[in-house]
C-alpha cells in the first residue's frame, strides 16, 4: 500500500518543571541503532542538571543525525526517557516514466540508494536533482513526485514517478536597441541558438542560464572590439510560454556611440626605460576604431618588453578617458614598479601516469624565481604541447610570506597510447593493411615508443623506433629506429629486402628552429623476381643469350629451343633500368634537417608557417653514393567565416656522386598521399610496356609538388572532431640518368602502350605538369582517426596511374 510521504515528523517535548536532576537515561524504540550510539549523540547524560534549553538542544542534535523519523524526550521523576522512531532503510529505488533518460544517469546524482537511511530531506533534495538532470537536457517542464511503500522491518521502497514533459527549446531570440548590427548578425555572436527541426546537430538550442550569462560576455566582447566602448547588455530575459514548451529570449542592449582611438601614451616611473621604445611596442594607431582586445595585447607587449630590458616586477595599467563629443578614447598606459612577488613552490598534481620531472622540465620558471605572468602562460602552453593531457591549468595561491606565491599546476591525463589499422583501396584494387602501436608517453617518462607492422600483398615490414626528448637530462632529443622491410614494388618491378637502422639527435637552435642530425646504416637486397623466356634455333646457342654462369632451362618448342631464366640474366634485358639496381649493397649515410616552426597551434594550425630543409649524404662508407636534398614549407592563414587557407610546397632533388648512378630504390616516387588523385608512384618517369601489361615506375631524380587547401567550417560542434578540406595538388616529377634511357636508342624496343597505334619510346619521362583536385575528410572518431581522400586527376600523362579513393582508419587505447 503506497501513501504519500508523511508530512514533517511531529516532535513533542513534555516538560515537567524548570530544571531537574537526571538520575538515569532510558532509550526506547531503537531497533537497529544501539542505545549507546543514541546516548553518544545525546547531549544530556545521567547525573546532569537539565532544563528546557538543554532538552531542546538534545532534541535538535538527535534530529540532526538524520537517523530518526521521530523523537520524544520526557523527564519523569528524574528518569529521562528518550523515545525514538528510526528512519527506515531504503530497500530499492524505482524510477517510473523516465522514457528519455536511463536510470544510471540519475544514480550518479541521487543520494538515496539501497541500504541507505531514508530521510525526508534526502527525498526532497533527490527530487530537485532529478529535475536538474532534466533541466540540463532541456526539459524544463519535467515534474517528479516521490512515493514510498512501507516494507516489514522498517524498510521502504522509494518510487520516483517522473513526467518528463516536452523538450523546451528556444523558439525565438530577439534583440532590442541594436541599430549597428542586425538581429541575425547578433544571433551568430551568441552561443544559444534557436531550435529548428533541420538542425539536428545543434546542442545549444535549449535554455541554459549559465550559457545566457556567457552570451552577455560574447556580446560585450563583440561590440567593444568594434569601437563601442560604452556598450552594455541592459537585460537578458528568458520567458517560458504558457504551455512550457518554448522559451522566448530577449536581449536588451545599449550600444552607445562608436569611438576611435584618441592619442595613445605610455608613462613610466621606471628609470632607464625609454618611453618611446615602449610606445613603439604598442600595436594601436590613433584614429583607428576602438578595440578592447588591442588594449590587452598592448599591455602584454609592454610587460614583455620591460621584462626583457631587466624589470621583473612591472605593473602596467591602461587608463581610458572618453571624450564623448569627439567620439575618441585616449589611452594612457601607466607603467610602474609592480609588487615584488617571488614563486615559493611549484606543485604539480593530477599526474597519475606522467612523472613529475617530465612536466617540471617544460615549466619555464624555477622555484625562487620572480613571478612573471608571461612565463606562466608560456609554461602552460608548453605543458599542453606535450600532448599527454586533455587539460592543463596553472593557478596561484598565497605563499608563506606576503611576497611569496605558490603555483599549482593541475593536469588531467589522457590516453597517449594508440594503435591504428590502415586499409587502402587503389585503382588497381590492391588491398594494403597496416597496424602500428604507439605509446607517446612510455611509462610516464615522456619517451616515445613505436612498433609498426605492415603487411599486404606486396610489403611486409617491422619497424621499432624509440625517442627520448631530453637525452642526458639536456635539451637534446635522441632516438633510434631499427627496421626489416620486404617491399615487392610492383609499380617498379622489383623486390627490395632491407635490414637497417638509424640514430638521430635534435636540439633547438632558436626559439622556433630545431636542428636534427641523423646517421643511417642499411643493407639492401634488390632482386627482379620476374623470369624471362628467349628463343634460339639450336640448343648450344642458349648460353649466348644470357650472362655467363646464369642458370637457365632449355626446352624444345616450335622447332627451336625456349630458354628461360632470370629476367636480368638475359643480355637483352641488361639495359633495363631495374636490372642495374639489382643486387646486394650497403648504404651508410649522414644527414641533417633544419626545421622552423612558427605555427600558432601545432595540432590545428590556423595561422603562421613552418618549413624544413633536409639533406642526406650517402657514401660515408658503404657502396652507395648519392646526395638527396628536400625542402618542405606550409603557410596557414585564417580567413573570415572560419575558413583556413593553406599553401604547401614540397621540392626534392637526388643525384649520385663520384660516378655512381642513383639506384631505383633511392629515387623519389610521388603519388598516393604525396600527390592525391594518383596511385603510389603514380606520377613520374615510367618504363611502359604493351597494353595490358603493367607499366613500371622507375622513380624520379627531382620533384616539385604544390598544394592549395581550404579547411571548411562544418556545422558540427568542435568535439565531433570532423574536419574537411577542399584541395588541389599541382606539380611534377621527372629527370632520370642518361643511361636509364638507353632503351630509347633502339627503335626495336618501342612499344605502343596506349593503344593509339603509334609506337612510343619505352622510357617515358617528361617533366609535364600534373594536377588533381578533390576533398579530404579526417574524422577523430571515438574508436580512432579515420581519413578519406577522394580526388580526381585533372592534368595527367596517359602513362600515369590514377587512384580516386583512399581510406585509412585507426584505433585509440
Amino acid at each position: 500500500q503506497t501513501q504519500p510521504v508523511p508530512d514533517a515528523p511531529s516532535a513533542a517535548v513534555q516538560q515537567e518543571q524548570q530544571s531537574a536532576f537526571v538520575r538515569q537515561v532510558i532509550i526506547q524504540g531503537n531497533q537497529r541503532i544501539e542505545s549507546d550510539t543514541v546516548r553518544s549523540y545525546l547531549t544530556i547524560g545521567a547525573g546532569q542538571e537539565v532544563d528546557q534549553l538543554s532538552l531542546d538542544t538534545a532534541l535538535k542534535t538527535l534530529f540532526g543525525t538524520g537517523l530518526f523519523k521521530d523523537v520524544n524526550i520526557a523527564l519523569v521523576d528524574n528518569v529521562l526517557v528518550v523515545e525514538v522512531a528510526e528512519n527506515p532503510i531504503v530497500n530499492r529505488i524505482i524510477y517510473e516514466g523516465n522514457r528519455r533518460t536511463k536510470e544510471d544517469k540519475f544514480e550518479e546524482e541521487v543520494q538515496l540508494a539501497p541500504r541507505v537511511i531514508y530521510t525526508q530531506a534526502k527525498v526532497q533534495s533527490d527530487v530537485q536533482r532529478i529535475i536538474e538532470v532534466y533541466r540540463r537536457s532541456g526539459r524544463f517542464a519535467a515534474t517528479v513526485t516521490p512515493k514510498i511503500t512501507e516494507l516489514p522491518q522498517n524498510r521502504v521502497d522509494v518510487i520516483f514517478e517522473i513526467d518528463e514533459g516536452p523538450v523546451t527549446g528556444v523558439s525565438k531570440i530577439n534583440f532590442i536597441g541594436n541599430d549597428v548590427y542586425t538581429d541575425a548578425e547578433l544571433r551568430d555572436v551568441v552561443l544559444t541558438a534557436e531550435s529548428r527541426w533541420w538542425n539536428i546537430f545543434e546542442s545549444n538550442d535549449n535554455y541554459d542560464p549559465d550559457r545566457l550569462e556567457y552570451d552577455r560576455e560574447l556580446l560585450r566582447k563583440h561590440y567593444t572590439q568594434s569601437g563601442y566602448a560604452d556598450f552594455q547588455v541592459v537585460s537578458a530575459v528568458a520567458e517560458l510560454t504558457p504551455d512550457r514548451k518554448e522559451f522566448f529570449i530577449t536581449f536588451q542592449v545599449e550600444e552607445g556611440p562608436q569611438y576611435e582611438f584618441g592619442n595613445i601614451d605610455v608613462q613610466t616611473t621606471l628609470e632607464r626605460v625609454n618611453e618611446d621604445l615602449l610606445r613603439r611596442t604598442v600595436p594601436i594607431r590613433s584614429g583607428t576604431t576602438f578595440n578592447s582586445e588591442l588594449i590587452e595585447s598592448a599591455t602584454e607587449a609592454i610587460t614583455y618588453s620591460t621584462g626583457i630590458s631587466g624589470y621583473a616586477f612591472v605593473d602596467v595599467n591602461p587608463q581610458l578617458t572618453r571624450n564623448t563629443e569627439a567620439r575618441t578614447v585616449d589611452v594612457t598606459f601607466r607603467v610602474n614598479e609592480g609588487p615584488r612577488v617571488y614563486i615559493e613552490r611549484i606543485n604539480i598534481g593530477g599526474n597519475t601516469n606522467t612523472l613529475d620531472r617530465v612536466i617540471r622540465r617544460e615549466v619555464s620558471l624555477v622555484e625562487g624565481d620572480a613571478f612573471n605572468k608571461i612565463l606562466v602562460e608560456r609554461s602552460e602552453r608548453r605543458v599542453q604541447g606535450l600532448g599527454y593531457f586533455s587539460d592543463v591549468e596553472i593557478s596561484e595561491s598565497p605563499g608563506s610570506a606576503p611576497d611569496r606565491t605558490v603555483l599549482d599546476l593541475k593536469v588531467t591525463e589522457q590516453s597517449t597510447g594508440s594503435f591504428s589499422v590502415g586499409a587502402g583501396v587503389s585503382s588497381t584494387d590492391d588491398f594494403i593493411a597496416n597496424m602500428s602501436i604507439e605509446q607517446r608517453n612510455l611509462l610516464g617518462r615522456g619517451q616515445l615508443l613505436q612498433l609498426d607492422l605492415r603487411a599486404s600483398a606486396r610489403t611486409r615490414s617491422v619497424q621499432v623506433s624509440f625517442r627520448e626528448p631530453y637525452f642526458l637530462d639536456r635539451n637534446l632529443a635522441a632516438g633510434f629506429d631499427v627496421y626489416n622491410t620486404r617491399l615487392d614494388y610492383e609499380e617498379a618491378g622489383f623486390v627490395q629486402d632491407s635490414l637497417g637502422g638509424g640514430l638521430n639527435v635534435g636540439f633547438p637552435v632558436s626559439e622556433s628552429a630545431r636542428l636534427n642530425l641523423n646517421y643511417l646504416l642499411r643493407r639492401d637486397n634488390v632482386l627482379i623476381e620476374s623470369s624471362f623466356t628467349g628463343f634460339v634455333e639450336d640448343e648450344d646457342e642458349a648460353e649466348s643469350l644470357v650472362v655467363p654462369g646464369a642458370d637457365i632451362t632449355t626446352s624444345p618448342s616450335q622447332g627451336g629451343f625456349a630458354v628461360s631464366g632470370d629476367y636480368c640474366d638475359f643480355i637483352a634485358n641488361q639495359l633495363q633500368p631495374t636490372c642495374e639496381s639489382q643486387g646486394d649493397f650497403l648504404t651508410s649515410a649522414l644527414g641533417y634537417s633544419l626545421q622552423f616552426n612558427r605555427l600558432d597551434n601545432p595540432y590545428r594550425p590556423a595561422n603562421g608557417w613552418r618549413a624544413s630543409l633536409s639533406q642526406t649524404f650517402a657514401g660515408v662508407g658503404g657502396d652507395v653514393q648519392y646526395l638527396k636534398t628536400q625542402f618542405a614549407s606550409a603557410h596557414y592563414k585564417s580567413l573570415p567565416y572560419d575558413f583556413v587557407g593553406s599553401l604547401k610546397l614540397n621540392v626534392g632533388y637526388v643525384d649520385g656522386w663520384g660516378g655512381d648512378k642513383i639506384r631505383l630504390t633511392d629515387r623519389f616516387y610521388r603519388g598516393g598521399s604525396t600527390f592525391r588523385g594518383f596511385e603510389i608512384a603514380g606520377i613520374g618517369p615510367r618504363q611502359v610496356s604493351p597494353q595490358g601489361q603493367r607499366n613500371r615506375a622507375i622513380g624520379a631524380k627531382a620533384f616539385v609538388v604544390g598544394t592549395a587547401e581550404m579547411l571548411l567550417p562544418l556545422p558540427f560542434p568542435e568535439e565531433y572532431g570532423i574536419r574537411a578540406s577542399l584541395f588541389t595538388d599541382v606539380g611534377t616529377a621527372g629527370i632520370v640518368d642518361e643511361d636509364d634511357k638507353r632503351l630509347n636508342d633502339d627503335i626495336a624496343n618501342y612499344v605502343d602502350y596506349n593503344g593509339d597505334g603509334i609506337f612510343d619510346e619505352p622510357i617515358q619521362d617528361d617533366l609535364s605538369l600534373r594536377a588533381s583536385a578533390g576533398i579530404s575528410i579526417d574524422w577523430n572518431s571515438p574508436f580512432g582517426p579515420v581519413r578519406i581522400d577522394i580526388a580526381e586527376a585533372l592534368l595527367r600523362e596517359d602513362y600515369d596511374e590514377t587512384e580516386s579513393f583512399r581510406f585509412s582508419a585507426g584505433g585509440q587505447f
Binding site: 624565481d369 611576497d403 611509462l443 639536456r474 637552435v509 636542428l515
Partner: protein, 137 residues
C-alpha cells in the same frame, strides 16, 4: 645559435644599489623591511639570511650555465641585530660531483602492462588488516 638567458632568485632591479646593512645598527626587521623575505632561510638556524641573485644561460643542447651569482649573507646575533655581512660571488663556486645514491621510497610504480590496460595501482595489498574479528554478534 640563439641562447636564452634567465634570472633566478632575488631580483636587483636596474638602478638599485647592492644589498647592505650596518653592523649593530640594522636588525632583522630593518633588513626585512628594506629587502623583503630572504631567498634562503636555513631551517635549523635563523641567524643567517641569504639573498641569492643568479643569471643562467641555456644554449642549444649544452647544459645550462650559471653566468653570474651574487650571494649576500646577513648574520644576526640572538637578539636579531646584524653582526656581519658577507658576500659570495661566482668564483667561490666549487664543482662537486653529487652522490648518486638515493634514500629508497616505496609506492606503486607504473608498470608497462598497467599503462597498457590503464588500471593503475591495483597490486594486491601488502600485509595489513586481517578478517574482522571472528566472534559473531
Amino acid at each position: 645559435c640563439v641562447s636564452t638567458r634567465a634570472r633566478h632568485g632575488y631580483i636587483i632591479e636596474r638602478g638599485e644599489t647592492e644589498l647592505t646593512a650596518e653592523q649593530g645598527l640594522d636588525s632583522r626587521e630593518s633588513v626585512l623591511a628594506r629587502y623583503g623575505e630572504p631567498t634562503l632561510r636555513p631551517a635549523l638556524n635563523d641567524n643567517t639570511w641569504y639573498y641569492v641573485t643568479m643569471t643562467t644561460n641555456a644554449r642549444a643542447f649544452f647544459r645550462t650555465q650559471t653566468t653570474n651569482r651574487q650571494v649576500v649573507a646577513f648574520n644576526f646575533d640572538n637578539e636579531g641585530s646584524v653582526t656581519a655581512v658577507e658576500t659570495y660571488a661566482l668564483d667561490d663556486a666549487m664543482n662537486i660531483n653529487l652522490v648518486d645514491r638515493e634514500t629508497p621510497t616505496r609506492g606503486k610504480q607504473l608498470t608497462f602492462i598497467e599503462q597498457l590496460v590503464g588500471s593503475v595501482g591495483q597490486l594486491p595489498p601488502t600485509q595489513g588488516p586481517q578478517v574482522p574479528g571472528q566472534d559473531q554478534r
